[in-house]
Structures are given as structure tokens and as C-alpha cells.
């Protein structure tokens, strides 16, 4: 009986927490009359995909998806290479200045993005990088680089050093060890880190909002934030369909890597 009570509370909490997401999807599939009805229907009767078609055909959707993909892929590709090298240094070597480097990597991740918009905007304007995708990539590196270093370091620490040492004794060179042993073992870690970096850059809003003022160069999050525009009639169904579409790739990726990554921020604390 007592167990049943706790379960009931648990289910109630589940319903409250998940409701917004459910409501988004439910609205996205409802015909307009059910959306604005004073008696809301919980599950869409006669579901329609009209809102999704409307969202997909809204101006600049595909252009802005393409922009986001381009920005995110380039950011992640550059960052992961640079970060991997630095992570190897952190996980495998002791050197003077190491602590300062760790402080730098952790410290940067704590900087509030809003505090950086003025300097980034002014410097990028100086080099004609505002309103350019390349400018956005530069700003995204500010948070993707340190994140990748720290997360990859965690994965590298999990790989026993003995494997490499054994290979060295067998006459492999450092580079050989790196290519033949470390890289394959790091595969999953590299994928997980890239995917998570992909998510955080895909979700980014403020830098893109500040730097770009051309609708054809926006990212998808900025596109979504402008969705309602200034029109008096609000197309809630299409907005929710567009929101669902924006969220889908992120949700799928997130579910894939959540277990591997999520504890990076607090890793040491949980281990005690």
C-alpha cells in the first residue's frame, strides 16, 4: 500500500515534468480549431501534419538548417582535433604549467556568454566577420574547445596507460602507439564528445543572434525565435511543429550519448 502511494507520487511528478513536451507534440498535430478551442483536447482528434508542412515551407527553414549544420560541423571538427591533443597532454603527462592550463580550461567554461558578446562583436566587426558564418564559428569555439578538452581528458584517463607502455616496449614509436592503440580505444569517447559538442552548438542562441542580421544567414535557433514575427494572428500549431522539428535531432543525439557524457561536469564529485 505504501509502495503504491510513492508510485502514485512518482507518476504525478512524471506527468507534470513531461507535460510541456507532450503539449508541444500534441499541439503540433492538432487542427487549428482544436488548438484555439476553449475546451482543450488533450490528444489530437483527427491529427494533421499540416502544421509540419507549413513550418517546413516557411521562409528560410532549410537555408537556416543548412547554416546551423555548416557552423556546427566545422566548429566541432576543428575543436575535436585541437582538444584531443591537449587532452592527451593532460591525461598522460605531468609538466610545469599544467595546473594553470587546467584552471584556464575550467575557468573559460564558467564565463557567462552574455559577458562576452560585446568584445566578440566589436573584435569581429573590426575584421569584417559580423554577419558571416565564419564569425559565428569563432564565437562557438569559445565554449566548444574547453568542453571538448575536459570531456576527452575524462575518457583518456579511463584507458590504462599500460597498454601503450607495453606497445612501446615492443618497439612501437610514440606515433605508432597513438595511431594503433590510443585512437581506436578512444573511438567511442571521440564520437560521444563530438555529438555532445554538436548539441550544445546547435542549441546556441545568443552569439548567433548578436552576430547575424541577415535572415538567410541565421541559425535554426534564431530562425525559431523569430518564428512568430510581429503578425497579430499567431500560428501556434506551426510554431509547435517547428519547435518539434528543431528539437528532434537534438533529442535523438542526446539520448544516444547522455549516459557517457552527462557526468563530466561533476565526475569527480560523484566518485567522491
Amino acid at each position: 500500500m505504501k509502495q503504491a502511494g510513492w508510485n502514485a507520487v512518482g507518476i504525478a511528478v512524471f506527468v507534470v515534468i513531461v507535460f510541456p513536451v507532450f503539449w508541444m507534440i500534441s499541439t503540433a498535430f492538432k487542427p487549428d480549431d482544436q488548438i484555439v478551442s476553449l475546451n482543450p483536447t488533450w490528444i489530437p482528434l483527427h491529427p494533421t501534419i499540416a502544421h509540419f508542412t507549413a513550418a517546413l515551407h516557411k521562409q528560410y527553414f532549410w537555408t537556416d538548417v543548412k547554416n546551423s549544420l555548416l557552423i556546427v560541423c566545422i566548429t566541432v571538427a576543428i575543436s575535436i582535433v585541437l582538444a584531443f591533443l591537449a587532452a592527451v597532454a593532460l591525461a598522460r603527462y605531468r609538466f610545469s604549467g599544467r595546473k594553470a592550463f587546467v584552471v584556464l580550461i575550467i575557468g573559460i567554461q564558467m564565463l557567462p556568454q552574455a559577458g562576452l558578446i560585446i568584445p566578440l562583436y566589436v573584435v569581429l566587426a573590426k575584421y569584417h566577420q559580423t554577419n558571416q558564418l565564419s564569425g559565428v564559428i569563432i564565437t562557438y569555439m569559445t565554449f566548444v574547445l574547453p568542453f571538448c578538452v575536459w570531456t576527452l581528458r575524462g575518457f583518456l584517463i579511463g584507458i590504462p596507460k599500460e597498454l601503450e607502455e607495453a606497445a612501446m616496449v615492443d618497439g612501437s614509436t610514440r606515433l605508432g602507439v597513438f595511431v594503433k592503440i590510443l585512437l581506436p580505444l578512444m573511438g567511442p569517447g571521440l564520437v560521444a564528445t563530438s555529438v555532445f559538442a554538436f548539441i550544445t552548438s546547435w542549441n546556441e542562441y545568443i552569439f548567433a543572434r548578436v552576430l547575424i542580421n541577415d535572415q538567410r544567414k541565421n541559425t535554426i535557433t534564431v530562425w525559431l525565435s523569430y518564428f512568430l514575427g510581429t503578425s497579430r494572428h499567431t500560428d501556434w500549431g506551426a510554431l509547435m511543429a517547428a519547435s518539434t522539428l528543431t528539437a528532434i535531432p537534438v533529442v535523438v543525439f542526446f539520448l544516444l550519448v547522455q549516459r557517457r557524457i552527462a557526468f563530466g561536469l561533476t565526475a569527480g564529485a560523484v566518485k567522491g
Binding site: 510541456p20 584552471v103 560585446i118 568584445p119 566589436v122 501556434w236 557526468f263
Partner: protein
């Protein structure tokens, strides 16, 4: 010493030098990158804060020096101080709610049956994965005064009228932002705390209950001390995040309704520095904000650095 031996020792010295310098070669590329994308802009931030720098100066790429004028203007502006106090209150409320609710749900996870636990954690992960801008649109729709589901539900219960405007007052606006921020932050906190709870030895809690300790006492004397390091980290992270939160207040309240009465630190900085293109004053505000965050980050950074000391 023969020529061969000399050559040998030379090559060994060279190898040792290479070995010792390897970590520096490995971090060099990223240091250069960080210097370009962050170091140089921060250097500019410092310079900007002592300049008169508006749209005209932005185009000219240079502005006249004005000494400490920007800092004086900001520090003598009551809007700054009101914003600071409002942001601190906002942060305390948000962090408090996040941690307390997160703790309660994590404890609840221990009590429920396996299938409810799986259901609840899946729900949390789903919410966790929602992009912030999507979450904002979603809450914007739910709290809409005409057709929003919040008003429907509340009017059924009889709590409010049919078309209550949740964005009419500053307090109400910031309360909506708080709901959104706490909702978004809970999953990470709950799942991390739940992972921590798994470490509390079961027999210790059982022994306590056999000895007649009330659940609250057992929680306070056994569970809480074990969770302390995690709670400290989660709290400091939440403080840092909520103090600098931008997207949620900016988009949920909306550009049109954002004004000095509902500023939080980030929206204040965005409006006064960027939107009004007063980059000099904006730079001064940025520096003050970054310093405050640096101050509250000290604990977290120190903790993580001690973790970062380990190598494999």
C-alpha cells in the same frame, strides 16, 4: 669518448628533450586558438571599457579614451544596482528551488518501484534534451493568455479568470522565467543527485531505522554528509548558470517588454551595451559581470582543478 658514443649521448639528449617538450607541443595549438577566439577579444574588452565607443567608433575602428568614465557612469546608475539586486534574488530563488526540488525528486526515485523509476528518469532525460529556444517557445505557448493551457487548467480549478495575462507585471514575468529555468535545470540535478544517493550505504540507513531514528534524522546525519560534495558542486554550478542566464528571460519576456524594471544582469548588458550600441559602457558592465562570476566560480574551479590533477 669515441665519436660513436658522443653521437649516442647526443641522440639520447635529443630524445629526452623531445619527450619533455611533447606536452607543450600538444597544448600549443589549442592555446593559440584560445588566444585568438578569447584572449584577444578579452584584451579588447579591457581597452573598450576605457573608451567612448558607439556605432560611429565601431565603423572607424577607433574611439577616444575617456578614462574611468564608463565605470563611473555604470556604478552611479541606479539601474545597475537594482538589476544586481534583482539578479541576486532571482538567482537565490532559482537555485534554491532547483536544489530542493531536485533533492526531493531524487529521494522519491529511491522509494518508487523499478518501472516508475525508469519512467521518471526517461521523462527527465527527455526534458533535459530540450533545446532552450524550443523550451521557451513551448512555455510561451502554454502561458499565453488567450489559449494557453495554463489558464485553462487554472480556470477549471477556479484559481484565476479565463484570460489572466502572465506577463503583465515584472514579478509575474520573472516568475514565469523562474518556472522555465527550474524546469530545464531539474533533470541534470536530479540524475546527478540520484547517482550520488546510490553511494549511501544501505545497511547504515537500515541500522538507523532499526535504532528508531526518524527518516529526517537519518537523512540529515547519514545521507546529507555523503552527498555534501555533490551538493556543493551542483549549487555552485547552478549559481553560475542562473546568474548569467540570458536566453530564457530575453525570449520569454520578449524584446518588446524588456525594460529596466525587469532586467537581469545579462538582459541589462544586452540592451544597454549591444542593443543601444554603447559598447564602451557595455564593456564596463561586462567586466563587472565577469568579475562577479569569477568570484563565485572560485570554489567550483578549485574543486575541479584538484580533480584535474590526476593523470592515468
Amino acid at each position: 669518448m669515441s665519436a660513436a658514443a658522443e653521437a649516442h649521448s647526443w641522440s639520447r639528449r635529443r630524445r629526452r628533450f623531445l619527450e619533455r617538450s611533447t606536452p607543450y607541443w600538444l597544448i600549443l595549438p589549442i592555446l593559440v586558438a584560445i588566444g585568438v577566439v578569447l584572449g584577444y577579444p578579452l584584451y579588447w574588452l579591457a581597452r573598450l571599457s576605457f573608451k567612448q565607443y558607439g556605432l560611429f567608433e565601431l565603423i572607424q575602428h577607433r574611439g577616444p579614451s575617456v578614462g574611468f568614465k564608463n565605470f563611473r557612469t555604470v556604478l552611479h546608475d541606479s539601474v545597475f544596482w537594482h538589476t544586481l539586486v534583482r539578479t541576486i534574488v532571482f538567482t537565490v530563488v532559482n537555485v534554491g528551488l532547483t536544489i530542493v526540488l531536485g533533492m526531493l525528486i531524487a529521494l522519491l526515485l529511491l522509494r518508487v518501484s523499478g518501472w516508475v523509476r525508469i519512467l521518471l528518469t526517461s521523462g527527465l532525460v527527455l526534458v533535459w534534451s530540450m533545446p532552450v529556444v524550443v523550451a521557451v517557445q513551448l512555455w510561451f505557448w502554454m502561458t499565453n493568455y488567450e489559449n494557453g493551457v495554463l489558464n485553462h487548467v487554472l480556470s477549471w480549478v477556479g484559481a484565476t479568470g479565463e484570460q489572466h495575462d502572465w506577463y503583465a507585471t515584472t514579478f509575474s514575468q520573472l516568475s514565469m522565467v523562474t518556472l522555465l529555468v527550474v524546469w530545464g535545470a531539474l533533470p541534470f540535478v536530479v540524475i546527478t543527485l540520484y547517482a550520488g544517493l546510490a553511494q549511501v550505504p544501505h545497511d547504515l540507513l537500515e541500522a538507523a531505522s532499526v535504532d528508531g531514528a526518524r527518516p529526517w534524522r537519518a537523512f540529515k546525519d547519514i545521507t546529507l554528509p555523503i552527498l555534501r560534495p555533490i551538493l556543493l558542486i551542483l549549487t555552485s554550478l547552478s549559481i553560475i548558470w542562473d546568474f548569467g542566464v540570458f536566453t530564457q528571460p530575453y525570449l520569454l519576456i520578449g524584446q518588446a517588454k524588456t525594460q529596466s524594471g525587469n532586467y537581469l544582469m545579462s538582459t541589462y548588458l544586452f540592451e544597454e551595451g549591444y542593443f543601444k550600441t554603447d559598447f564602451g559602457r557595455g564593456a564596463a558592465i561586462s567586466i563587472l559581470m565577469l568579475l562577479m562570476v569569477a568570484l563565485i566560480s572560485v570554489f567550483y574551479v578549485r574543486r575541479m582543478v584538484s580533480i584535474g590533477q590526476e593523470t592515468a
